[in-house]
């Protein structure tokens, strides 16, 4: 007599199990198949093309009622199973009990619903089955706005599909970058760029607080208070194994239904397969392992021999035109090394993770043609030591010569494209060289190669070197740091011209060779982005030197010094008392007057910083930015108020300047001085900007120094009014912000560009007005007291944990 086999769930896994069973031994079992959905099996991973309109439901059906009938399977579709009794070996359905000899649970998984208010409102859908897909298609038919919660595989496919159907889509994602489980940040950046190019808005690090609406979903409210209007809300934050039946039946369930290598649950006659399963601590959401399971399960039922082995899996996103690939383990870890290739012009990023002499992970974006080859290397554990040098170039490159860049360039055919921006091929360049061009500038002039984005400059130079041999000397422009071959100046230029507005954009578009820069380039790039895009760019504290991150100067013993601002050097008894009290309260060992006429509290413990700031804030004192690459102080003399020689109100002007400029970030520190007469008691003539008040007005001079170099200022201009003196100063500081290399003091920068050039820019009324407006715009964000803001997050200044007890045990 045939054994009775009952299967719960008609999905991709159980479909495959039945195929294997009937192929091998059609007479072994009498099969009954339950399915809560009123239909047979379809290829669930093709729902995204259905959503986007590229495929129809009919095209993705794999096993319909006719197929099951032909195999002799009894189908109970549209009927959900309410319980399993393992003792009686009976399954209860809506239309009665059914005994079994063997049972397979293939209930798959259920979408995870985040428990926010409004989650049950009409207009909120999940993305799991055909009904969800149809609900989205019909909602999209009305147009309007959609918010997709979840920037993982599923969420992005939903977003792309809805955008394809004409909705205005915003993706809300909790983590720092999209698909963080499959992609690293760099690939995540490219994906984001791609999606934004399709008009999809992306909010990362955004947490959903509630879905709001009267009667139906109207908007998504984020934790930061922002409201995103939504006619449709798709919740695609993840799935979890559907284990309710197994739990109720008393089977062993962890995150999923636990099975052994024969796909057997804790009850020997009950098996489980697919996404509802947990094997060896792992869950399975992709189709390849699930098909492996199906095969093993069929063989276990028939012969009881096979064993399932969990293998690595690869991921691809099913959004047309987004080429991404991720396989294996690409997390960083002990003893792991990266090989990174970025080709900004073509939007390509590849990263291989190597452990010892094995490839263990790969992430690729833009060009995934070699993905399967890499995946094979990962799965096979191939020894890649021999091909390590050229591994990242893929299979086509293996077995060739060692990768000498010059020989590679020499081997390029005449028609090989060198400059992608201008479409210049190698032959055009060698022709120009034959025509007399012997350096980069001449090539640029003759061919336009490397004249646009400049990223091919190195290649052009290599062509020059290969063609001219010893007649060409490779230029030695100082690159910013070993992470990138470009100079500071080139990077600044490219950030502006290519409108790069994030660090990830810079890393990718300018071909960074490291994953996230280093302590040399990160602070520089952070400043450049902040200076060029004050409204769009979010300052990154982790790219700042400790002094700026902690808003105090680190001292040799790891303590900090704190300098409150005294506008123009003026203070009063109340402020002095507050400073004295703070010095007492926080055991400040040294109180000193600085070179810029401010009071320095030295030796404050890092953990005390937020508290001493809060105390000083209470007395009206704010941060003096004595730690910043920004405005430090404006030193003044007493001027007309008290001095018999004073010609103008130098203290008043100093206060106005300090109040205009404070909080601004600059390439290096900026110090100002205002002296009331040519006796120059404020020593204004060795400052970045020095103003000498005279009877006829104000002499503004710039580019002085009294540090590593000592240098007198040079006269920028003479002006008649105080307002003009302020305007000229602001315009100069903004010009310096826009053009100087990070960590060049103003005098070094002026020496490079020439005082004439600076004078001409400042003298041009239109340019001056633009500079002042740009500075004010930036100040609308940055003219704030960092102490007050950081005092609110005092716990961040405390140790994360105190293990003195544990460690002593």
């Amino acid at each position: 007599m045939k054994q009775r086999l009952v299967i719960i769930g008609a999905g991709m896994a159980s479909g495959r199990v039945i195929e294997h069973l009937v192929e091998t031994d059609p007479d072994a079992f009498d099969i009954t198949l339950f399915n809560a959905e009123a239909r047979g099996n379809y290829n669930r991973i093709m729902l995204s093309p259905v959503l986007s309109g590229e495929k129809t439901y009919e095209e993705i059906v794999t096993h319909d009622s006719d197929w099951y009938a032909a195999q002799g399977v009894t189908c109970r579709f549209g009927e959900s199973v309410s319980g399993i009794d393992p003792t009686m070996k009976v399954v209860s359905g809506q239309s009665g009990h059914l005994p079994y000899d063997k049972l397979i649970i293939a209930t798959g998984s259920a979408p995870f619903i985040i428990p926010v208010p409004g989650k049950d409102l009409p207009g909120v859908v999940t993305y799991r089955d055909l009904d969800d897909t149809n609900a989205m298609i019909s909602a999209a038919g009305k147009g309007g706005k959609a918010v997709v919660i979840g920037g993982g595989l599923l969420g992005l496919e939903a977003a792309a599909g809805l955008a394809e159907r004409g909705m205005e889509v915003t993706v809300v994602h909790l983590m720092g970058h999209l698909m963080e489980r499959q992609l690293d940040e760099a690939a995540g950046y490219l994906l984001r760029k791609d999606l934004e190019g399709r008009g999809i808005s992306i909010r990362t690090q955004a947490s959903t607080k509630a879905i709001i609406g009267a009667g139906r979903a109207e908007a998504v409210l984020l934790e930061d208070g922002e409201t995103l209007p939504a006619d449709l809300v798709v919740m695609a934050v993840g799935i979890r194994p559907e284990t309710r039946l197994a739990t109720d039946a008393g089977l062993t369930v962890a995150r999923g239904i636990e099975v052994n290598a024969q796909m057997q649950t804790s009850d020997p006659d009950i098996f489980a397969v697919g996404e509802c399963v947990e094997f060896d601590g792992q869950l399975f959401g992709l189709v390849a392992p699930l098909y492996d399971q199906a095969k093993v399960l069929a063989r276990s039922l028939l012969e009881g021999v096979d064993a399932f082995i969990a293998k690595d899996t690869a991921t691809k996103l099913k959004v047309t035109g987004c080429d991404l690939f991720s396989a294996g383990d690409f997390a960083e870890g002990e003893g792991r090394e990266d090989i990174v290739l970025r080709d900004p012009a073509r939007g390509i990023y590849k990263r291989l993770v190597i452990e010892g002499d094995r490839l263990i992970g790969a992430v690729m974006y833009g060009d995934t043609a070699d993905g399967n080859w890499f995946f094979q290397l990962i799965k096979d554990g191939t020894d890649i030591d021999e091909m390590r040098e050229t591994l990242i170039f893929g299979p086509a490159f293996q077995g060739g010569d060692t990768a000498d860049p010059l020989s590679a360039v020499a081997a390029l055919p005449r028609e090989a494209e060198i400059c992608g921006c201008n479409g210049i091929c190698k032959g055009t360049i060698t022709d120009a060289i034959a025509g007399g061009a012997t350096d980069l500038a001449a090539i640029k002039a003759a061919t336009k190669a490397s004249a646009s984005c400049g990223t091919c400059t190195g290649l052009v130079e290599q062509v020059l070197q290969v063609t001219l041999g010893d007649d060409f000397v490779m230029p030695t422009a100082q690159p910013i740091c070993p992470c990138c071959d470009l100079t500071h100046e080139d990077i600044r230029l490219l950030i502006k011209s290519q409108e790069l507005k994030s660090k990830e954009a810079v890393w990718q578009e300018l071909g960074w060779k490291t994953r996230n820069g280093c302590h040399i380039c990160r602070p520089a790039v952070n400043f450049y982005l902040l200076a060029d895009w004050p409204l769009e760019y979010q300052d990154d504290p982790q790219s700042r030197f400790v002094n700026e991150r902690k808003h105090a100067n680190i001292q040799k013993d790891g303590t900090f010094s704190v300098v409150p601002r005294m506008w123009g050097g003026i203070t009063n008894p109340a402020e002095l008392r507050a400073i004295a009290d703070a010095a007492d309260k926080y055991d400040v060992p040294t109180v000193k007057v600085t070179g810029g006429q401010r009071i320095d509290l030295l030796g404050v413990k890092g953990e005390d910083l937020p508290y001493i700031w809060a105390d000083l804030n209470k007395a009206g004192l704010v941060s003096g930015h004595a730690y910043s690459k920004g405005l430090r102080t404006v030193k003044t003399c007493v001027g007309t108020d008290h001095c018999r020689f004073g010609t103008q109100d130098s203290t008043g002007l100093g206060i106005k300047l300090e109040q205009a400029l404070w909080g601004s970030w600059t390439p290096h520190k900026v110090k100002l001085g205002v002296s009331g007469c040519p006796r120059n008691c404020a020593e204004a003539t060795c400052k970045d900007v020095g103003i000498i008040c005279v009877d006829s007005g104000y002499q503004v001079s710039v580019a002085g120094a009294a540090g590593m170099d000592v240098k007198e200022t040079e006269r920028l201009c003479d002006v008649g009014t105080e307002q003009e003196a302020i305007d000229v100063t602001i315009a100069f500081v903004q010009l310096y912000r826009e053009h100087a290399k990070y960590l060049d003091r103003a005098y070094k920068w002026v020496a490079k560009v020439g005082l004439d050039w600076v004078q001409a820019r400042i003298a041009d009324p239109e340019e001056r007005a633009r500079l002042i407006a740009a500075f004010e715009l930036s100040q609308s964000i940055y003219r704030k007291d960092p102490w007050a803001e950081h005092a609110k997050t005092a716990e961040r200044y405390q140790p994360l944990a105190n293990l003195t007890l544990e460690a002593a045990e």
Binding site: E180, E332, G333, H519, Q542, I554, L800, N802, L803, E806
Partner: protein
């Protein structure tokens, strides 16, 4: 191994660090990726700079005092004679775990 939970991963900024106090001095805890942490001694062997105040890049940290760069895997200084001690740390379900046995057995450096 004696893994103890010392806090949530979100309590350390991405590419940032926090320190933890132990009976034998401070240990720096670095976060280099979405869910990746490293633990080392907090003190630079050069002049004692607090490494938890440094800039974290790749799987390295740069000392804030004189820019010595340390590999967080091995503790080895880059291009210099010197190394820092490293301690096992890992992240599980968003929580940071550190091996207290290794911490307790470290020499009072």
């Amino acid at each position: 191994m004696n893994w103890i939970d010392i806090g949530g991963i979100d309590e350390i900024p991405l590419r940032g660090a926090r320190k933890i106090k132990t009976a034998l001095g401070c240990v720096a805890l670095f976060r280099t990726g979405e869910a990746e942490v490293f633990a080392t001694t907090d003190s630079c062997p050069h002049k004692g700079g607090p490494l938890s105040e440094g800039i974290v890049h790749g799987q390295s940290v740069t000392c804030p005092l004189h820019n010595w760069v340390f590999d967080l895997n091995t503790g080895q200084a880059q291009g210099e004679e010197g190394a820092i001690s490293t301690y096992p740390a890992r992240v599980e379900a968003g929580r940071i775990l550190i091996d207290a046995t290794k911490l307790a057995s470290r020499s009072a450096a």
